[in-house]
């Protein structure tokens, strides 16, 4: 097997034993990008010289016998809404086309501190708003399993980069499913940590009560490794939770005795593709065969989750994106005009259609006369959604179901119908509203060879349980060992 096709856990062993240098691995990833990324379109920015310099520095420390951090020289691609000092950070928006942040995000600092090589910036839906990565102002990203199809989104570049074996690990962000859905559609593992588990310092804000940064990897061990790297308290994010980080790696191989897997009947309603349903039901059988108990649960508020989400997220976005004013940083209109028009023109020129749509919806939901019917009502629905989860996690340890209602759809298929695009987030958004943990693991393929994902959700701060439950499934199956054929 080619080096770039190995999972992160195997590569770390090779790096630690000195059988592979970080330079050799990083160069192999650069070569893979050179030959494949013109087709996939995962990266917006990749500075070969800078990543090789970082790899060499790690190799030099290894040669001196210095202890290496958790990542031991592994390349980690970074979603382009995470700041890296002096490196373009565009959020795939014309608004930030020339922005170079004066500081580095906490998670990127952590990657570097644990001897990872920050490996380029990946494509996304503009400001992380979308489910297909088609909303990027710069390029389309294609699904490595079928280049006519979308990789999911908004972290489509990060997912496609791992699935296409361009990097063993990557970071994404998840506001309503933006890590789990592309992981599902690209046949890899993607984890959204609980709200507060990972610092958002340096993550460009979309919806601040929902956003979390998390890992992509080929397997559960890789996701655990990168979560271990980035989790923990950071005083620069006041929502960062000051609780000890468990040793995710140490417990991963220990199956959970007496595991109770919850299955919500609402997850198997209309709109769920039959092949996806079959794969998920097969996964439940895997758990049953491992001795787990399948528990029937209900999430009665879940039919209202999308409406709740698209009010809360857009309201927060309309407020967060008010900072793009054409004055402090970002695009400024060339037109000579007064101050108010400078704001309006700069924003009208700098933002793409989906970002405008969401700013408009959020502004409407917060506007005088409508705030009670929309925003405040959504916040009440949000509490009911949280109550649903609190209730079901008294009777099960994890909740299992599909990550996305269908496998990857074709480019352009939903581009003209924003509402149908929003509906593709149906299984992932409640997790963000409730602040709990969730992950997607590969659990099968459609007849036409497209990956299918199984979502496991757990209570807040229960990443260890979710990862161990995921590993039990992974150990009993081989879906995570498949790689797309690209030439």
């Amino acid at each position: 097997m080619n080096l770039t096709q190995l999972p992160a856990s195997a590569l770390v062993s090779l790096l630690r034993r000195g059988e592979v240098s970080s330079r050799l691995l990083t160069q192999a990833c650069l070569d893979a990008c050179q030959s494949l990324d013109s087709k996939i379109g995962a990266f917006l920015h990749l500075d070969a010289e800078a990543v090789l310099t970082a790899a060499d520095a790690i190799d030099a420390r290894r040669a001196r016998g210095e202890p290496l951090g958790l990542l031991a020289g592994l390349p980690v691609a970074i979603k382009d809404n995470l700041c890296q000092k002096g490196v373009p950070t565009t959020c795939a928006s014309k608004m930030l086309a020339n922005f170079r942040p004066p500081y580095t995000a906490h998670v990127v600092e952590r990657v570097a501190a644990e001897d990872g090589v920050p490996f380029g910036k990946t494509n996304l839906d503009e400001f992380a708003m979308g489910s297909s990565t088609e909303n990027s102002a710069f390029q389309k990203t294609r699904n490595p399993w079928d280049l006519e199809r979308i990789p999911g989104g908004s972290s489509g570049g990060s997912a496609a980069a791992v699935a296409g074996c361009l990097t063993p690990l990557s970071l994404g962000s998840d506001t309503g499913g933006s890590i789990r859905q592309p992981a599902s559609l690209c046949g890899i593992v993607g984890l959204k940590p609980s709200y507060g588990r990972v610092s958002r310092y340096g993550l460009v804000a979309f919806a601040s009560s929902l956003d979390q940064v998390g890992p992509f990897a080929h397997d559960v061990a890789g996701a655990a490794l990168l979560l271990q790297t980035i989790a923990g308290h950071d005083r620069r994010d006041s929502t960062s939770v000051n609780q000890p980080v468990p040793d995710y790696m140490a417990s991963l191989e220990t199956p959970l005795a007496g595991l109770r897997v919850g299955v919500a009947r609402e997850f198997f309603g209309p709109g769920l593709d039959s092949e996806v349903e079959q794969a998920v039901r097969n996964s439940l059988e895997v758990y049953r065969s491992l001795g787990a108990t399948i528990v029937d649960v209900t999430l009665p508020t879940s039919p209202h989750a999308i409406a709740t989400y698209y009010l809360v997220a857009t309201a927060e976005a309309s407020s967060n994106l008010a900072r793009y004013d054409g004055v402090h940083y970002g695009h400024r209109t060339a037109e000579k005009t007064n101050l108010i028009n400078l704001y309006c023109k700069s924003r009208g020129e700098g933002f793409g259609a989906e970002v405008k749509r969401r700013i408009m919806l959020g502004t409407y939901a917060l506007s005088s006369g409508y705030i009670d019917a929309y925003y405040t009502k959504a916040l009440k629905a949000r509490r009911l959604i949280l109550n649903d989860f609190n209730r079901i996690f008294a009777s099960c340890d994890v909740l299992a179901g599909p990550t996305a209602p269908t496998a990857a759809f074709k480019l352009g298929e939903k581009a003209s119908d924003p509402l149908s695009m929003y509906l593709s987030d149906i299984y992932t958004i409640s997790c963000n509203l409730a602040g709990i943990s969730g992950l997607s693991i590969p659990c099968g393929f459609t007849a036409s060879g497209l990956p299918i994902g199984l979502q496991l959700q757990g209570p807040a701060m229960a990443e260890e349980t979710v990862l161990r439950a995921a590993r039990m499934h992974e150990k009993a199956t081989a879906w995570h060992t498949h790689r797309p054929t690209l030439s």
């Binding site: 004066p102 004055v327 309006c344 405008k356 749509r357 408009m360 919806l361 019917a373 509490r383």
Partner: protein, 95 residues
């Protein structure tokens, strides 16, 4: 109640977004469909339910008021589209 183009123009003004006439024409039915969809929340009984703005029971988080290094003026202004000396430049707001 269907969202109208005039309402969309008003919201664009509130959002300080300059939208062209074709954009308003395209956005109005899209936003109307989304608003229709989210109107389903009206059917949800939320009598006596406290709004939840945030999933964590975190309130104000304070730290000691210790001076620490911050961005230099040059760093802070490095991304400014227009500057004047050590300041951001904006069109005159008073005659």
């Amino acid at each position: 109640m269907k969202l109208t183009e005039d309402q969309v123009r008003w919201v664009a003004h509130l959002a300080r977004l300059d939208l062209s006439t074709p954009e308003i024409t395209a956005l109005t039915p899209q936003l109307a469909a989304i608003v229709d969809y989210v109107d389903q929340l009206a059917q949800l009984d939320t009598q006596g339910i406290e709004p939840l703005a945030h999933a964590l029971p975190v309130h104000n988080v304070f730290r000691d008021d210790e001076p620490t290094p911050s961005l230099t003026v040059a760093e802070a202004l490095a991304n400014a589209p227009r500057k004047l000396g050590d300041c951001y430049a904006v069109p005159a707001v008073m005659d």
